[in-house]
């Protein structure tokens, strides 16, 4: 009996992301619609869901997953500003994530910084690193930009592994205290959930404002056509740097939270595979809208959790799913799923007709 109920509950619980998807599927021109301040009704649904779901559903596993998804979402949100809005490519954001995590880890464990300060320090460090690395490499485009960012991430890993005295080498750093503000420490998954999603909400509003301001339009223009952008007096290089630094700062925040919640920081967590995962989150959610990364990250975090059951098969299945999603939803599940499905159905219908015609 007990087990049966467990089972049913769990399945419903894995169906949750799909249900959320069905809620969010926006109308096609929503992607382009004039970016205004007015919230749509749908958006209040999301807010309600984020606020009350964990209370209705007090399940540590669910909370933990959502905490993780939230952290990834912060990172993906920053990346989508760079990927989706400025139209550049970065495979190196795991490095900024790692820089954030290590900054927090070192400051809190060795210099006994309060985590709240370390949180801001991490973002600053990541942003600085992004500025330094971005100046030279952002003049590249496409494949070479991707490769350069990837190379930066690898170099970061090598440095972390080698500077034992500071980062503890491959062993990493343990015993990072919980995130705490003014003595109130977030020590349960529920508290962490509200912390993370609070931060995410703040950053989300920030970027929502940003993309409908001068800077957002400029970055969209850079993505569309650099010549046109220059012709209206936009300094392309400067815009790219700004957005890059910005997304790195987001990554820094995420990394700091990650370090606090996992209580450890080690190089294995910031490898190329992680960068790939985050980019996938952005792509699957749909580039060029801000909900994309969030839903993408929830989706993939759940996917990973489900795949855990399939033991040795989890990685091959992940690869196949990844490719299939890219082939069938190249511009994101979150944004275009409706259109895509209609198109597919139409195609099947036509095919049927054709066959009948042949007969």
């Amino acid at each position: 009996m007990q087990t049966k109920k467990e089972f049913r509950k769990r399945d419903f619980f894995y169906l949750l992301p799909l249900w959320l998807l069905s809620l969010i599927v926006p109308d096609a021109d929503d992607l382009y619609s004039y970016r205004s301040k007015e919230f749509k009704r749908r958006e209040f649904y999301y807010l309600g869901a984020v606020l009350f779901l964990p209370l209705i559903w007090s399940d540590p596993h669910f909370h933990h997953l959502m905490v993780l998804a939230g952290i990834y979402a912060i990172l993906a949100l920053g990346l989508s500003l760079f990927l989706g809005y400025a139209g550049q490519i970065s495979l190196g954001h795991a490095a900024f994530f790692g820089i954030g995590a290590y900054t927090t880890a070192i400051l809190t464990t060795r210099y006994a910084f309060p985590t709240f300060l370390a949180f801001w320090a991490s973002a600053t460090t990541a942003a600085t690193a992004a500025f330094l690395i971005g100046k030279p490499i952002l003049k590249l485009k496409g494949y070479f930009l991707a490769l350069a960012t990837l190379g930066f991430a690898e170099i970061f890993l090598v440095i972390v592994r080698e500077t034992q005295t500071l980062t503890g080498g491959v062993i990493g750093i343990f015993g990072i205290p919980w995130f705490s503000i003014a003595g109130f420490s977030f020590d349960t998954y529920l508290k962490q959930y509200y912390l993370i999603w609070g931060v995410l909400l703040g950053l989300f509003l920030f970027s929502k404002n940003l993309v409908r301001s001068k800077l957002g339009r400029a970055s969209l223009a850079v993505a569309a056509s650099e010549d046109a952008a220059k012709s209206v007096g936009i300094d392309v290089a400067q815009i790219k740097i700004k957005v890059f630094v910005m997304s790195a700062a987001f990554a820094g925040f995420a990394g700091s939270l990650f370090a606090c919640i996992m209580s450890t920081a080690n190089p294995e967590a910031f490898s190329l595979g992680f960068s790939t995962l985050i980019v996938m989150m952005v792509i699957l959610g749909g580039m060029g809208n801000l909900y994309g990364p969030i839903f993408g990250s929830i989706l993939l975090t759940y996917l990973m959790d489900i795949l855990g059951r399939y033991q040795e098969w989890s990685l091959p299945i992940y690869g196949v799913i990844l490719i299939l999603l890219l082939i069938f939803f190249p511009d994101g599940i979150g944004t275009r799923v409706g259109i895509r499905l209609i198109y597919l159905i139409g195609y099947w219908a036509k095919k049927k007709k054709r066959d009948e015609g042949k007969l």
Binding site: P60, L65, F174, M262, E268, Y310, Q311, E312
Partner: protein, 398 residues
């Protein structure tokens, strides 16, 4: 009246049968004791976890065939954490949520253990670590985490004994950039210098992914020659071991090579070929199941386990299979000692009170203060000869 009596007899008979059926049915559907396994089925440690899975599954099935723990079958639940910190942690909470799970085994890799141990401590669930975490984490003395394999300290002491027995005065250590190798090198240096040896830890290191160690060795060669080191300690795990040996022999360095206990696997010899000849290390007993002396208490267990592994999977046992076997039998033993009322807390206490339990790897003793099961007595000296593991004995040492 008669027929009534007959009726009554029949009734009683039927009722008895029903009761018998009922009781038997009840016996059949006792709640299973679940054990969560949080392993790296994918990623660099996949091979290791494959062995672990084979052995654990086999052991659990054997115990269930024997009727389980007083009627309760054991059940294994495997989850892959893909060598990813986040997923390992989430799996841990997933296990803690399921109230029937009494203990979680794994993860295997050091970097993930710190987090899962912390969660276990918080959520009050036993976390059995097969390969002990690095000393920094073990120093925390967490009550809910138990280590199966010998800690780095014991392994290093064993190797120091080997050096003393062979009377190596100067040893050069060539560490890999993995947590295990680093703590091994540290402890080897510490104990070696206590015993008056000279231990040089090379600046040069190698990664698990390096495919050619020649450059590093070229930089080490002058040290080897000028210092006249007696032995070269390839402090590494996995493929780099054979690579180091091969490259050294190719470069014509004849210095004897010492290995870590991670050399005690068949594939190491298969890879290294004749370059591995004469490599010596301190390993566990399952590496040489057939060469244990007759009065060794664990000999029958090892041989029996080896036989069953060969029958079922066609491969002999190695240290990891041994650890898996020991894990399951430790859990089985502790569950039995809970006398029916199994909760996570009682299970933890029972496991803590394990003493002198005979197993593949030796005799396990846990206590509330000491969560390292094995001791130095449970290791043997091993030398690779003719593509085989040969046990060595040194009077005075073992």
């Amino acid at each position: 009246m008669k027929e009534n009596k007959g009726m009554v007899c029949w009734m009683i008979f039927l009722i008895l049968i029903f009761m018998g059926l009922a009781t038997s049915a009840v016996a059949a559907e006792k709640m299973p004791y679940k054990i969560g396994a949080n392993f790296e089925f994918t990623g660099p440690w996949a091979e290791v976890t494959k062995t672990l899975k084979m052995a654990t599954v086999m052991e659990v099935e054997r115990i269930n065939a024997m009727g389980g723990v007083d009627g309760h079958p054991l059940e294994l639940i495997f989850e892959d954490n893909g060598f990813d910190l986040g997923r390992a942690a989430v799996n841990m909470t997933k296990f803690t949520r399921d109230k029937e799970i009494v203990a979680v085994v794994g993860p295997f890799e050091d970097n993930l253990q710190a987090t899962t141990r912390a969660i276990a401590e918080r959520e009050k669930i036993t976390n059995i670590i097969i390969c002990p975490s690095n000393p920094m984490v073990r120093a925390l003395k967490q009550r809910w985490a138990f280590n199966i394999a010998q800690s780095d300290i014991i392994v290093s002491q064993k190797l120091v004994d080997l050096c003393l027995a062979r009377n190596y005065k100067k040893v050069l250590v060539f560490p890999a950039v993995i947590p295990l190798a680093q703590s091994l090198a540290d402890y080897f240096k510490r104990f070696g210098e206590e015993k008056g040896m000279k231990v040089i830890i090379a600046k040069e290191t190698h990664k698990p992914t390096d495919i050619d160690m020649t450059p590093q060795l070229i930089k080490l060669k002058p040290t080897i020659e000028q210092e006249k080191v007696d032995a070269f300690y390839a402090c590494t795990a996995g493929p780099p071991g054979p690579i180091v040996c091969k490259n050294m022999r190719t470069m014509g360095i004849k210095t004897p090579i010492l290995g870590t206990h991670a050399f005690g696997f068949g594939f190491i010899i298969a890879l290294g070929g004749e370059a591995m000849e004469g490599v010596e290390f301190g390993g566990a007993k399952p590496v040489v199941p057939d060469q244990l002396d007759e009065n060794d208490p664990v000999r029958p267990i090892i041989l029996d386990f080896d036989k069953r592994m060969r029958e079922r999977y066609g491969v002999g046992i190695d240290q990891l299979a041994g650890y898996a076997h020991d894990t399951i039998s430790l859990i089985y033993d502790a569950l039995k000692r809970c006398q029916g009322k199994v909760t996570r807390a009682t299970f933890r206490d029972a496991l803590e009170n394990t003493n002198s339990l005979k197993n593949c790897h030796g005799i396990y003793n846990y206590s509330p203060t000491d969560h390292d099961g094995l001791s130095k007595k449970d290791m043997v000296f091993i030398r690779i000869e003719g593509g085989k593991f040969k046990r060595m004995r040194f009077p005075g040492f073992e």
